[in-house]
């Protein structure tokens, strides 16, 4: 490849090709394309300071702070047993919703989605890669939060399968809503709205403040939010050792179907 470089620089008008650029088109195998895309997206996320603040630092700080200092009345038992499930829910929301919405919004704005749409990677392949990237990030978050919570004396209970199911449905619900926002609003509007929603749901979604601190009427409504369904569902299982939290799984499933369908219908690539 380097041998041809010198001959080429003065190649004007000779009409003699070096063969370096001779067409040899072809798409890479689909799994390789999706893996490469997922790896790049994950790298972009882990390199971005604001994203790390959202997905790693804020959940970790909240877990440590509220476990150590008795600011919020978390009911009977150790504070960490109440907090850890809520922080896990927050971690899912921060990555699948807030982080994904902001990143995708700016990718759309900067023409990344448009450019990739002209590459051999099909659009569904790009979305699969995004999901993989979200899942990889969530695995890292869950490991980190679990390790810290265990160090703080957390004693989780319940069925791991129920936990997994809640996390997966929660991810689907938040991804749908995040992509809906990223694919319809301007990047700046997505940035502002995604952060605002993050903050509101952090306070009103049973993450660190128990839902029963709110008035009865508000409780019913707040309980229908995807963040509440996820945090309460995780708490039922991990703190109280409940079986399958069907009610909360149902709420998440509805959000997932509605959110993903709306995102699929209204998402604009440029």
């Amino acid at each position: 490849m380097t041998a041809g470089t010198d001959a080429r620089t003065t190649g004007e008008g000779t009409g003699e090709g070096t063969g370096m650029y001779a067409p040899r088109p072809g798409a890479a195998p689909l799994p390789r394309m999706i893996a490469a895309q997922a790896a790049l997206e994950t790298k972009m996320l882990l390199r971005n300071g604001e994203q790390l603040l959202l997905t790693v630092i804020i959940p970790t700080l909240l877990l440590v702070l509220f476990s150590a200092v008795d600011i919020v009345d978390t009911g009977e038992g150790k504070a960490v047993d109440f907090l850890a499930p809520g922080i896990l829910a927050l971690a899912v929301m921060s990555t699948a919703f807030t982080g994904q919405a902001i990143a995708t919004g700016f990718e759309r704005r900067y023409g990344v989605l448009k450019r990739l749409a002209a590459s051999p990677l099909p659009r569904w392949g790009l979305m699969t890669a995004k999901t993989l990237s979200v899942l990889v990030t969530e695995v890292l978050q869950v490991l980190l939060v679990t390790a810290i919570a265990l160090a703080l004396g957390w004693s989780p209970e319940g069925n791991p399968l129920a936990v997994l199911l809640l996390l997966v449905l929660g991810t689907a619900a938040f991804s749908g809503l995040g992509l809906l926002m990223a694919g319809t609003l301007k990047a700046e509007a997505t940035l502002a709205a995604a952060n605002l929603v993050f903050l509101l749901l952090l306070v009103g979604g049973g993450v660190i403040v128990p839902l029963d601190k709110f008035p009865d009427a508000a409780q019913d409504l707040l309980g229908l939010l995807p963040i509440s369904a996820l945090s309460e569902g995780l708490r039922d299982v991990l703190q109280h050792g409940a079986g399958m939290p069907w009610g909360n799984l149902g709420i998440l499933a509805v959000w997932a179907v509605v959110g993903l369908a709306a995102a699929g219908k209204f998402f604009r690539w440029e």
């Binding site: 001779a22 490469a36 448009k114 099909p122």
Partner: protein, 307 residues
């Protein structure tokens, strides 16, 4: 190879709301380099983006390498390279990282390091996209368009805003692509770019092709020159025209500024000066110029073509 059709557009119409961006455009691009030339807002980008599969025609048909860019997108995409007018890269990605990524989406990509070197990006591989200069960002986008070893490359204003050196590097690469059998469709509003690079030129204005041919054909064989001179305003152009050979043109462009078009040879020059002498005109600032695409465009549209 030159006879092979790579892009065929028939009666393309594309509207955005009430604005018609492309209005019944026909275009046939043969293998080689085709320049789509026109002022801003002429419909160049819309036409190219329809060929790239980004937009669905409101009416008309588009075939690229024999394929429908929308319906047969998955078959077409690996065979074409696309350089957008701007953007297309994660703002936090490093230059080499992004190019390597696009390379990974293809089965037989070019050597990334050699390509970076070739385009003068060797020293900024570790720089993130948002910190690259405008020219470096342009050349990275160009590299991304060719790294997959496509048969056909679409370049949307590849040298807009580049300094002369970077422009030349881009031109050299485009010529190399052609020499290796890659076809190139490029949009530009630089006349010299089209004259330097293109085998064929399509001039578009207000969403239609208003002239097409090789640069030489468009400038009428290159033998066609322009003779300009100044004199007092309001000379009898019809009388001058009568004195000239049959296929010549003559016009007063602005008061006192005259242009004679045709095969400008010593005889023609003598005819013009003789006519001036007979009419008591002192022709000042006589000049002979090659007829350029710029003149062609001006004649066709009455508009200056500029960026």
């Amino acid at each position: 190879m030159r006879s092979e059709t790579v892009v065929q557009v028939d009666g393309l119409v594309k509207r955005y709301g009430r604005k018609t961006a492309v209005d019944g455009l026909d275009l046939v691009a043969r293998a080689g380099i085709t320049a789509v030339l026109g002022p801003n807002g002429a419909g160049k980008t819309t036409t190219v983006e329809t060929c790239e599969g980004y937009r669905k025609p409101d009416s008309g048909t588009v075939r690229v390498l024999g394929l429908d860019p929308v319906r047969e997108a998955s078959a077409l995409r690996p065979r074409i390279g696309v350089m957008l007018q701007s953007g297309g890269v994660y703002s936090g990605a490093r230059a080499d990282e992004m190019l390597r990524h696009v390379a990974k989406l293809h089965a037989h990509p070019l050597d990334v390091d050699a390509l970076m070197e070739r385009l003068g990006l060797g020293s900024c591989g570790r720089t993130t996209y948002r910190r690259l200069s405008g020219g470096q960002q342009q050349r990275l986008a160009l590299a991304m368009a060719v790294v997959g070893r496509p048969e056909l490359v679409f370049l949307d204003e590849p040298t807009a805003g580049l300094d002369p050196q970077a422009r030349r590097a881009t031109w050299d690469l485009v010529r190399d692509l052609r020499a290796d059998g890659v076809s190139v469709i490029l949009t530009t509003h630089y006349m010299d770019e089209a004259e330097q690079l293109a085998d064929d030129v399509a001039i578009i204005d207000a969403g239609r092709v208003i002239a097409k041919g090789t640069p030489e054909e468009l400038c009428r064989g290159g033998a066609e020159n322009t003779l300009r001179f100044s004199g007092r305003p309001g000379l009898d152009v019809a009388s001058l025209l009568k004195a000239l050979p049959a296929d010549c043109t003559a016009a007063e462009l602005t008061p006192g500024s005259y242009r004679v078009g045709g095969k400008v040879d010593p005889q023609l020059l003598a005819t013009v000066t003789t006519w001036c002498a007979q009419h008591g005109v002192m022709p000042e600032k006589i000049s002979v110029e090659r007829h350029t695409l710029e003149d062609v465009f001006l004649e066709l549209t009455g508009k200056e073509l500029r960026g």
